[in-house]
Symmetry: C2
Subunit: 351 residues, 2 copies
């Protein structure tokens, strides 16, 4: 049994308390500076306002100001901040880490490396750590279809832990595995982490179909919707996800498993990436759509912006042709260049 | 412009009238003996009761008894009967076909070859034709995500025409392609047709999650559902679909496109395969579930039964190990052997 410190009291960080606690670990859940309200509610009302549940008995909620105390004696850190919070994590938690203290990250995203190519999130976290720790923190990350509220509800959830050291992954999996939280392991970090990040961008793309239907006045008198179009976008997203995973040096088999189609399938069920895609699909300009969703982290928009910067670098290096990723290119046109939605369906499923 | 005869006035056969008519072809829509009510409604009330729309102007609805007249001068036959209707089609329409008259089939299913292995539907249709025509009818088939009501509503729909002759596929595609009906072609018949058939069986499997949620009393107070589990089943279905496509000699790339994940995604949105899977997932015995859905063709159950017969043949030939297809094997246990639902999640994503 271990002392575990979860950093970040949002949906997913908090949900990790369930399998950890059911396995008997001691848990401290530390909010980021943005999570003060959540921590207060957990401490004073025994209620997690995002998950709409009481935390499991024995989880200790702590404020960001109590970081020192929270990390004292920790044997595992769960990195549960959003991708926007990674610099804060690296700057604030980084100096307090030790080379033997493993970090399991649940953050999603791709970052730009200094040469303009794409970098997976564990790579970015590592490169953001204090110099003497870089390459020395045992880093792992989680991929696969896992809505936090379902994990906290102890509904069956299947995920993949990824990292470079198989022995670390096995150790972490045995700490967290329960009869409802099923864990596979993979040392193919580029494949799993690329899928994890891309699924939000592609979900925005698939949700364009919902907005296009809205724009045509919704279902017609015979209730015809646009599921056929959404399915087409899903299929093209699968193919383009494979291409980007290959570009990142990963094995595309991950796309046909939990991290790829599995996570994409669950993400399309609802949430922020669907909401923004639907607004854009209905013809709303990006600024207006963003305004309407103000205050929420839009990982979908972030990852498309990062792709918009990085893909030209790969094209200049002849590693990619524009026609290889027609859906991604149109998403960049919509999100970065503000162009209207006009799906290039006839460029799909080529090559 | 061509004279086209559509055989079968169910959802999909009838929906094909829209792109055909929008391209100016002359269309006769002939009901099977089971479609008499539909044809009467189309003729007397100008209303297709299943699609809940009037047929396009110029489509001529005819009864099964008017087959001779319907096929007179036909330049293309659309085979729109269900898989249960294929023997009727072969026995009744077969003798009236000519070696130069192409048949485009929209039927889904896998059949058993005489040696107990699996046979795609075009192969089955061909082998059911009168001896002198076998191997001489230009056969093609349609795969991909296409809800009939959306095609009839002229919503964007993307499909694949498959057949052994590329020139036939190009000709058919140019006859049917419109600005809302997008057509790709593939000569990989085993891959496309295996996907087309399997998607109903796997949809039943994915829908088990809905029933398992029902059995636990539905969403909990915090609205936790079982999307994570459904996504896990979707991912495993994708992997097993690839394995069966390979077993059939097809290229598994089709699984990552319209015929595979595309069609599976759209089929999971609703319909009969979802309904039966949900009932089974909730613990209802097969007989009771079938009784509740009486009168509807259950292609999902049919394809699982066919797999239950054929897979042991492949295993005896050492082409397959039982552990290669844990989801399919459990679906066979449920549907053929009447065993209770008990998903072997920990056997998923191996090898």
């Amino acid at each position: 049994l271990a002392q575990v410190t979860v950093i970040g009291a949002g949906y997913m960080g908090s949900a990790m308390c369930w399998p950890l606690r059911d396995n008997g670990h001691q848990i401290r859940l530390v909010g980021t500076p943005l999570d003060a309200k959540i921590i207060r509610s957990c401490r004073e009302a025994s209620w997690h306002p995002k998950l709409k549940r009481a935390l499991p008995d024995g989880v200790e909620p702590l404020y960001a100001e109590q970081l020192e105390q929270a990390l004292h004696g920790a044997q595992l850190v769960i990195q549960g901040v959003s991708s926007a919070g990674v610099p804060w994590f690296a700057g604030t938690i980084g100096p307090r880490l030790r080379p033997d203290l493993p970090v399991l990250s649940i953050t999603k995203g791709l970052a730009l490396a200094p040469d303009g190519t794409l970098q997976t999130l564990p790579g970015w976290v590592d490169s953001s750590l204090p110099t003497q720790l870089r390459g020395h923190i045992p880093l792992a990350a989680v991929g696969g279809p896992c809505i936090a509220g379902e994990l906290a509800g102890r509904r069956p959830s299947c995920v993949v832990f990824t990292g470079r050291e198989a022995s670390l992954l096995d150790r972490l999996a045995s700490m967290l595995r329960t009869d409802y939280y099923h864990i596979w392991t993979s040392t193919d970090v580029p494949a799993v982490e690329t899928c994890v990040a891309l699924k939000n961008g592609f979900t925005l793309g698939i949700a364009l179909a919902l907005g296009m239907l809205d724009r045509q006045g919704g279902p017609d008198a015979a209730d015809a919707r646009m599921h056929n179009l959404a399915a087409t976008l899903f299929a093209q997203a699968t193919l383009e996800m494979e291409r980007i995973v290959q570009l990142m040096g990963g094995d595309p088999v991950a796309v046909r498993g939990l991290p790829g189609v599995g996570d994409l399938f669950v993400t399309v069920q609802g949430g922020r990436s669907v909401a923004i895609g639907r607004l854009l699909g209905s013809g709303r300009p990006l600024a207006e759509a963003l305004h309407q969703l103000e205050g929420v982290t839009l990982e979908s928009v972030d990852v498309i912006r990062v792709l918009g910067k990085a893909l030209p670098v790969y094209q200049r290096r002849k590693m990619l042709r524009p026609k290889d990723l027609p859906l991604v290119h149109h998403l960049i046109e919509i999100v970065v260049e503000g162009k209207p939605v006009n799906l290039p369906l006839d460029l799909f499923f080529r090559g």
